[in-house]
Symmetry: C2
Subunit: 300 residues, 2 copies
């Protein structure tokens, strides 16, 4: 039997690989990395790999428009099958025995160093900040090059290049999280606590179009967890909304709402229903909700 | 008389500087650059500079969450006073006389090279892609270092470092635009074709909260141009919506809608009313609208 194949935004040592390892056992699957989210998604669409993990929101790996564009506009046969939310934890990594005081160069991606600027200014005001194409490349340079250099990167990058964590959590905003999604060709079955993602295309931006859509959800008690408007950049004057909601497309109220919406928009593209991940903030909110509504909790 | 001071996301040669030069004459103002959007915004808030230009959406300079967070959560005395929309035009830049065939290294920011990946694969498949902290740093390295290197960057970077454009428009998505905003402490007067930005904070994410807000706008015929939901990351369970709408806060219908919304949300933070920029897509849509509604055009 051939192993399932999973693509991810590489190189090895990225947060995306860290996210993938939360849901896939590397012993029982082949993991293949790609240089961009778009290439991961196109490889799944063409059937070169079974599924792919890509960053969706607030990633240090760069823009997520690449993910949304590839998923929403460049392919039409893919669905999101799972999601993973990771805290963005960046550490200062160095070779064994390196002291903070002797570091003269710090390697990382510009997006990552920008998130650690305050920490760097306070603790390494004289170190030169040198750009790398990924946090993994940065860790690799520290591992193989001479000099008193350190890298800013995630735990996995330290493990892959046998570096030590010199300082934990050097980001200025330790509460930051990144949301990753698994993309595949087969929809996921209901898991009991699901989320559905969709894109609604509207022919003209006019007052009230969005209102009609939201009413379909609201009147059925469906909770939205995300909404974002964007020009489609494909058809002039066409706008679209990215919507995430609580529930599975196999739930009656969700499928009814979608059918009603389809009747009065240019197009509705279902991006899949999948088990809802629990981020740190989500987890705390859910715990609070559980406490304040224990009576309801039993019946869910 | 002292010159007005404008901060921008630097270093010199960035798209943000290009955007600033569209609205400010460098002869009659002092331009000061900062390493992050956050630092530009905080400098304006503290009164160190008069106004600041920062990227807001879809920038090649990196994430815009930094802009929104600093403006929405870290300061409370600032308003957006203007906006500029620029096409993201990235060119291959080299020293005078450099031929495409002899280029062995390409310098740029990871976010910028990611946008040119297809072009690079086709035209420079063997060139080594080397990371820089900004497109300007990349241009500087090409200008001052030996070897057959080229940089990917905007026109202004070529001008600042006396480089030639070897190839125009090397991005894979030439339709990409970046939206920049000018941030200041004094609100802008109505200009006739304005836009208003605000953030609405909602105490609990419940079905219907957003619907109530949108109804206030829709019932008054106010057109929204952007809507985006986000956790505030400040108070657990609190969500907020970033909303852009057509009109000025001094328009009666806009101020009425805002007053009504304020009555039933946790907080509403007005980010200012300012003249609406015309992007490429906007310009074409507007032209089409003007044609299809010439009768109305005369009265506006």
């Amino acid at each position: 039997m051939t192993k399932p194949t999973f693509g991810f935004l590489g190189p090895p040592g990225t947060f995306t690989q860290e996210a993938l390892l939360q849901v896939v056992d590397p012993e029982s699957a082949d993991l293949i990395y790609y240089p961009t989210p778009e290439e991961v998604i196109l490889a799944v669409a063409k059937g070169e790999i079974g599924q792919g993990m890509v960053p969706m929101e607030n990633s240090v790996e760069g823009t997520v428009n690449a993910t949304i564009d590839a998923l929403g506009f460049e392919t039409d046969n893919l669905v999101i099958t799972n999601e993973v939310i990771l805290a963005v934890r960046l550490h200062l990594l160095g070779r064994a025995g390196t002291n903070l005081s002797e570091i003269t160069e710090v390697y990382s991606m510009p997006v990552a160093t920008a998130q650690c600027r305050r920490w760097l200014r306070e603790h390494l005001p004289n170190a030169k900040v040198i750009a790398a194409n990924s946090t993994a490349e940065a860790a690799g340079r520290v591992a193989y090059e001479k000099g008193s250099a350190a890298a800013i990167g995630p735990n996995l990058a330290a493990q892959l290049f046998a570096l030590e964590v010199i300082e934990r959590d050097v980001t200025d905003h330790p509460e930051a999280e990144t949301r990753f999604v698994v993309v595949g060709r087969e929809p996921a079955a209901p898991a009991g606590r699901d989320k559905t993602s969709l894109i609604v295309f509207i022919a003209e931006d006019k007052p009230g179009a969005l209102l009609e859509i939201l009413t379909e959800f609201s009147s059925r008690g469906i909770n939205l967890t995300k909404i974002e408007s964007r020009p489609t950049k494909r058809v002039l004057g066409e706008y679209c909304f990215f919507i995430d909601l609580e529930g599975h497309v196999k739930d009656d109220i969700v499928s009814e709402a979608i059918t009603s919406i389809e009747a009065h928009v240019a197009k509705l593209r279902l991006l899949g229903s999948y088990p809802r991940a629990i981020g740190r903030l989500d987890a705390e909110r859910l715990a609070r909700r559980a406490r304040s509504a224990q009576a309801r909790a039993g019946s869910e």
